[in-house]
């Protein structure tokens, strides 16, 4: 296992069950997702079976088991965003990116995740792409956002 995972383990010398989620957080922050190898390593370190770890990790929306795309779209679908049309945005986004919620496209360019309330309901509906926020989003705004990303990617080829 890589050194970076070992450094995370070192922060939890007591190897307790309660360290599981913090360790998974730490690992995901470094690797971007939880791979089988990592889960195996955590299992050996904490003496918890891989099934248990997988069972815990899949319970929470935070953990991923594959990498996200270069552009990670997070669409807020909280109450305020929903009543401001986030549902329509989601459908449009799925069409534009050609992936469903929770998926990453084949090229690893886009991934889409629906989150609940980002915490700026007044500016609803809200989209975050790689920590850039787009507020009061409209269908047209969405289309041009995706178009500009695609164009940027094409020109950099």
């Amino acid at each position: 296992m890589n050194d970076d995972v070992t450094t995370i383990f070192e922060q939890f010398p007591n190897r307790r069950r309660e360290d599981l989620i913090p360790i998974l957080h730490g690992v995901q922050e470094i690797h971007g997702y939880l791979s089988e190898d990592v889960i195996q390593a955590v299992s050996e370190y904490l003496h918890i079976s891989t099934n248990k770890i997988y069972g815990v990790a899949t319970f929470y929306d935070n953990f991923r088991f594959g990498p996200v795309g270069k552009y990670h779209f997070r669409l807020c679908h909280g109450t305020a965003c929903h009543v401001s049309g986030a549902g329509t945005l989601l459908r449009e986004l799925e069409k534009l990116l050609k992936i469903n919620n929770g998926e990453t496209d084949k090229n690893g360019l886009f991934s889409l995740e629906v989150v609940s309330c980002i915490g700026a309901c007044g500016l609803a509906p809200l989209i975050e792409v790689n920590e850039q926020y787009y507020t009061n989003m409209t269908l047209d705004g969405l289309k041009s956002l995706v178009r500009s990303i695609r164009e940027k990617e094409l020109s950099s080829l």
Partner: protein, 649 residues
């Protein structure tokens, strides 16, 4: 040099302030404290509201622009990333305080306006820019013709007990918090009161939990105190994952020391040696500030071993959640801290008797706890005198939706919902008509036009079948389809159900399927599908009743509320969807029926060629027709027709 700012603030604050019983009356402390708290400054002080919603509104860029300006012009000024005053609508908000002058608060300062703002203000000129107001201060020189912040319509109706420091002090400065009176209650508690007495004060204050249940905090603390155990835990529930509320996050970002103080008091009162803040993982800024604040408090000896020689040991740890709404339920939360799947367990036993690792554990909401230092400082009777007969104190709301002044507001218990919208909230946004308020996803009933005069009060809300909920306050207007909203809530519950018990796991899925049948149109509406739809709707109410009656935790119990509410208050909308298959708000796009206006149609064939299912017939230059049986309602023809001949019914 005058003793304006003590050279060793740590020494000063601990020994002259926190540990000195004379501090309350000592006049000589006032001046140094006002410098430490930032009320007075030696050089210009600039605050940028940098809580999450401010950042999303662009405060980060504003901050950078100010930093650059100061560097370029070689200005000697302090720049602070502050918290949130709650008026999110006016973000980015920049406050400026010049030596000797009252603090000014400017609204909507985008990065581009920074130059203009600073050019003027640093030369003592009031720039011509939208200003929220100035802060009243008797010892400083006030600005002429600038209104007071307190008189701003958003603030004037509020009662800001919990928010008193939010957006005003530097969130991660233990000095300014202590200088504002912070940690005084905690040092009082450990030096003057026994744990029993603290529990008793909280009990007599009538403080009720703000996490949704409204359970008396004092009773909970007393139960834990009275349960003998070698170990106890004190947990703050900062999960706040109700989509539509973020006031817990806002106050944590703006005043993390207040929570730490409250938890120290709570841990002392219940005999807990270890305290956890269980916080939603996405609140990265709040987590960062909280951890920084914990570091500062530890460095001052407020947390840890043998606090201020009192023999009290309290450890405080931040635990990040991993995203699951159900983590907010206290037993699920405890399971999550233990590193398990966050599935609720049946109560009894209650956590106060058997919680984390089977030890007595107090779980309290952030807002509940924010009240605690105030109560200790001002006494139980003072708190009892606030609010109404049944509900004491104030309540925080996250105002959003079609309300003019959106943001975080604190209102006294007893204020009516009408007043919140039309006074604090500044009324509906232009062109919007009020339809309902959704008080969080867990709350029992919507507030509709009929009961808009209900007061914010546990009893009053119970009488109309609602509950205070988490503090979300989403104002719904005429453009929202209530059937679609009910479907949305049902989908939320279905996704967030932990899956442990049958009624919630299967029932929410079935309810959602019914709601989807109601709000969409099947590709071909065969008779059995109509039958299924009717049958589903027919059983909806009894299904809802079983789910709310038999579910293990309140998530399942409240899952059917949205549907029941809609059936009760918006039955006609529901019926229109079921029988006429119409959505008046035009939200359920799937129900739309497309037809062609023969008079407007020029026969250009654009729609004919684009329809994906060949549902359009006609010859060039003659009006076209849509064969309804074939049409799937995709809307392509509507989009392509240049002559507005395709109409939606």
């Amino acid at each position: 040099m005058t003793f304006d700012t003590p050279t060793d603030s740590r020494e000063f604050l601990i020994h002259k302030v926190l540990l000195d019983p004379k501090r309350d009356t000592e006049e000589s402390l006032k001046k140094p404290l006002s410098y430490l708290s930032g009320e007075r400054v030696h050089k210009p002080l600039i605050y940028v509201g940098m809580a999450t919603c401010g950042k999303i509104a662009g405060a980060g860029k504003t901050y950078l622009a100010i930093r650059n300006y100061l560097d370029e012009h070689g200005v000697d000024a302090d720049l602070t990333a502050g918290g949130c005053v709650g008026l999110c609508k006016e973000e980015p908000i920049v406050d400026i305080q010049l030596p000797g002058k009252a603090r000014l608060s400017f609204s909507r300062v985008s990065a581009g306006k920074v130059q203009h703002l600073l050019d003027d203000i640093l030369n003592d000129n009031l720039p011509e820019m939208p200003v929220i107001g100035q802060y009243k201060n008797p010892v400083l020189q006030n600005w002429e013709q600038v209104p007071y912040v307190d008189d701003h319509p958003f603030f004037v109706h509020q009662k800001r007990l919990l928010l008193e420091h939010c957006g005003i002090i530097d969130p991660v400065s233990v000095d300014s918090y202590i200088a504002k009176g912070g940690y005084w209650a905690f040092t009082d508690a450990i030096s003057r009161y026994t744990p029993e007495q603290v529990c008793d004060i909280i009990d007599r204050s009538g403080l009720a939990g703000r996490g949704g249940g409204g359970f008396p905090a004092g009773a909970k603390w007393t139960a834990a105190l009275n349960t003998a155990s070698d170990q106890k835990f004190f947990v703050c529930n900062a999960v706040e994952s109700d989509p539509g509320s973020y006031m817990n996050r806002a106050i944590l970002e703006s005043n993390p020391h207040r929570l730490i103080e409250a938890m120290l008091i709570g841990a002392y009162a219940t005999g807990a040696g270890k305290a956890f803040v269980f916080i939603r993982e996405e609140f990265t800024l709040a987590i960062r500030r909280l951890e920084e604040a914990i570091g500062q408090a530890s460095a001052y000896g407020l947390i840890g071993h043998h606090i201020f020689d009192s023999g009290v040991n309290i450890d405080l740890v931040v635990k990040r959640g991993a995203r699951a709404f159900v983590c907010g339920e206290e037993t699920a939360l405890n399971n999550s801290i233990e590193g398990r799947r966050a599935m609720p367990s049946s109560k009894p036993p209650y956590p106060a008797e058997r919680g984390l690792w089977d030890k007595p554990t107090i779980v309290n909401n952030v807002e509940t706890l924010f009240n605690v230092p105030l109560i200790i400082k001002n006494g139980a009777n003072w708190f009892r005198s606030q609010g109404t007969e049944h509900s004491k104190g104030t309540k925080l709301f996250t105002l959003s939706g079609s309300i003019e002044n959106y943001g975080t507001a604190e209102v006294p218990m007893g204020m009516t919902f009408r007043d919140i919208i039309y006074n604090v909230g500044g009324g509906m946004r232009e062109g919007r008509t009020f339809k309902a308020i959704v008080l969080g996803i867990n709350s029992g009933a919507y507030i509709t036009g009929d009961n808009l005069d209900t007061a914010v009060d546990f009893e009053a809300l119970k009488n109309i079948g609602a509950s205070l909920g988490s503090g979300a306050f989403v104002v719904i207007d005429q453009h929202v389809c209530m059937v679609d909203l009910a479907r949305f809530f049902t989908a939320f519950f279905k996704n967030e159900s932990c899956g442990k018990c049958i009624p919630c796991r299967e029932g929410t899925a079935r309810m959602l399927e019914v709601m989807e049948k109601v709000t969409t149109r099947p590709a071909d509406d065969k008779s059995f599908q109509t039958l299924e739809r009717f049958k589903g709707v027919m059983h909806l109410k009894s299904l809802a009743r079983v789910i709310s009656e038999t579910s293990l935790c309140s998530l399942g119990k409240s899952a059917p509320n949205a549907i029941l509410n809609t059936l009760e208050h918006f039955k006609d909308e529901f019926d229109a969807h079921i029988f006429e298959r119409k959505c008046a708000a035009n939200v359920c796009t799937d129900l739309r029926v497309y037809t062609i206006d023969v008079d407007a149609c020029t026969g250009c064939t654009a729609c004919f060629t684009k329809c994906p299912v060949e549902a359009i017939i006609g010859s060039p230059r003659y009006p076209h027709f849509i064969v309804q049986e074939k049409c799937i309602g995709c809307g392509t023809c509507f989009d392509v027709c240049k002559f507005n001949a395709v109409i939606i019914k």
